[in-house]
Symmetry: C2
Subunit: 333 residues, 2 copies
């Protein structure tokens, strides 16, 4: 850890909530710059105060509108807010097709709200790591409530959402003949269910399916049975506001429960393991890949595979022998 | 490569299309058994003849019904078919909540059709690797058309779908105010667009949005402009059958284009790089993680992070020093 005055200045600015410094750092995280990594090391010991809330659900489930409404509620409670909208990105163009940067305009003038979108360059595990680091930045900025929004399906989105303390799964009625998110594998990590657009046909059936599913669980960790919150139509402003406030109460209740039962420690542990795994990928595997690419060996390997001279497993074993990862016993604690 | 007679027997049985042997191997792939890896090495040189077609789209878009209908069309063309339905799974239970094993019953008696679901134990990158290997098994079995079906959102699903030669993105009208899959980052990898449930309100608008999007592309690789196929309501059997046949023609046309333009080589190269990356994760990073877990060092590391004594990056660098991956220069080609 260096005591470089520029570094200290950057840390201080982020702690003061300076938007430009924080934005530049988050951009550096996205681009996987070494300088950003240095900053995160520095920042890390100043994190851990925020309540991180994850929103996941199928595209079109109305997560953005909901997050926007939650900002309003939290701001009314005088809490500072950070929002991280995650755009899964094609690995081919390396950029988000549809940025979310234009939305949440209503809070653009409020210095208590910091909204950022995050895309990635397609590295395996890269997006989840970037999300974790961007959350650290917002945490160090002093944002009390941090909301992560992602499209919910697949392992990667589960990884992303695991950076949260409270996970909200957003569903809408009538998307299919089944509870759509079940297939997405996020059901079991839900702390709160939201039935969005609850005025639509099928809302009652969806709620009943959720209740039936929850009834099959014999015991919930920390005795927290995930509540089901119906969010009304945006057009009926009063009902919409009330249901969003109900959700905010649930979010707070859940955090209290995590603290009271000691489950918060488990979540933090889970998050730490994930972050170590991701950092190890960067520290151990990435240099090997870089070396293979730069030496031209990767091209030769690909040709051998295309010519069916060898297979990926055999080649990976060959490479592992060239880049041995045997621990130096003397250095082990 | 051993000449173990049992191994040779297994390879022979798979090449003969033996369902029990193939199913057991795919189960072994899912469970990441060393024995399965050995079999894939053996099988690898007998693969490369199948046309692999990937279907992706949001949950509820009707992919399963469409794949089912495509089986019928391909069978009518006397092509053998393999289907791989991918269930993204929670990392916490390690099992698929909702198996697809009961579906596609209509082809259960047809020996020319082999259908398997795939879940995973949640390892980073594990699902995509398993998909790649299961495709190799079906390819070695002699299946001429292999269809992969996955829920489309996020990097992992893009990885999965990249095991295909032809990628079909399935959309349905009226899911939101935007083309829902754009956010999922799969738009750019689409070779064919399907508007499913095209009798629904909003189908015309969705098609116009797609056309507008495609019109923005100045040049398509191999001059292949992704066609947009409308699939009608299942209830109108005649129209449904015709539109599915139109899709099958498009799938075939796309493969011809890949072959004629040499783009097929690019796809195979992309797939090989992905497979090497995944195999390297297993060969280089996984042993380090196992060692850390077994020695109890991972627990100590997590405590240091939770106590803010260190950060994941610094710890990863420490570990990388203990498990050096410097190439032995003498062994390098």
């Amino acid at each position: 850890m260096t005591d470089n005055p520029e570094e200290l200045n950057r840390l201080r600015k982020i702690q003061q909530g300076d938007v430009r410094t924080a934005s530049r750092l988050i951009r550096g995280i996205e681009d996987n710059l070494p300088d950003a990594k240095t900053a995160i090391r520095r920042i890390f010991s100043h994190t851990g105060r925020a309540h991180v809330v994850g929103f996941t659900g199928a595209p079109g489930a109305g997560k953005s509108t909901l997050v926007d409404a939650m900002i309003t509620v939290f701001r009314r409670q005088a809490k500072t807010v950070g929002v991280l909208a995650v755009d899964p990105t094609s690995p081919f163009t390396g950029g988000a097709i549809l940025g979310d940067r234009v939305r949440m305009q209503s809070h653009a003038e409020d210095p208590g709200v910091f909204v950022r979108s995050l895309a990635t360059r397609g590295a395996l595990g890269g997006l989840s790591k970037a999300v974790g680091d961007a959350v650290h930045v917002m945490d160090a900025m002093g944002k009390e409530m941090i909301m992560i929004e992602t499209v919910g399906a697949g392992q990667q989105e589960v990884d992303i959402i695991n950076h949260s303390h409270t996970v909200i799964v957003v569903l809408i009625p009538g998307m299919g003949d089944e509870i759509q998110a079940i297939k997405a594998g996020v059901m079991e990590i839900a702390d709160i269910f939201v039935i969005n657009k609850a005025d639509r046909e099928g809302a009652g059936r969806l709620e009943n399916e959720l209740i039936a599913m929850l009834n099959m669980v014999s015991q919930f960790p920390g005795d927290w049975r995930p509540p089901i919150i119906r969010i009304g139509n945006l057009a009926d402003a009063e009902a919409f506001r009330e249901s969003v406030e109900e959700l905010a109460v649930s979010v707070n209740d859940h955090y209290q429960r995590l603290v009271e039962t000691g489950l918060l420690g488990d979540r933090l542990r889970r998050k730490a393991i994930m972050e170590i795994h991701e950092a190890l990928h960067d520290a151990i595997l990435a240099p090997v890949l870089t070396d293979l690419a730069q030496s031209g060996e990767m091209d030769r390997i690909v040709e051998r595979i295309l010519n069916k001279e060898s297979d990926p497993y055999t080649i990976a074993d060959e490479i592992a022998r060239k880049y041995p990862t045997r621990p130096k016993k003397s250095e082990k604690e």
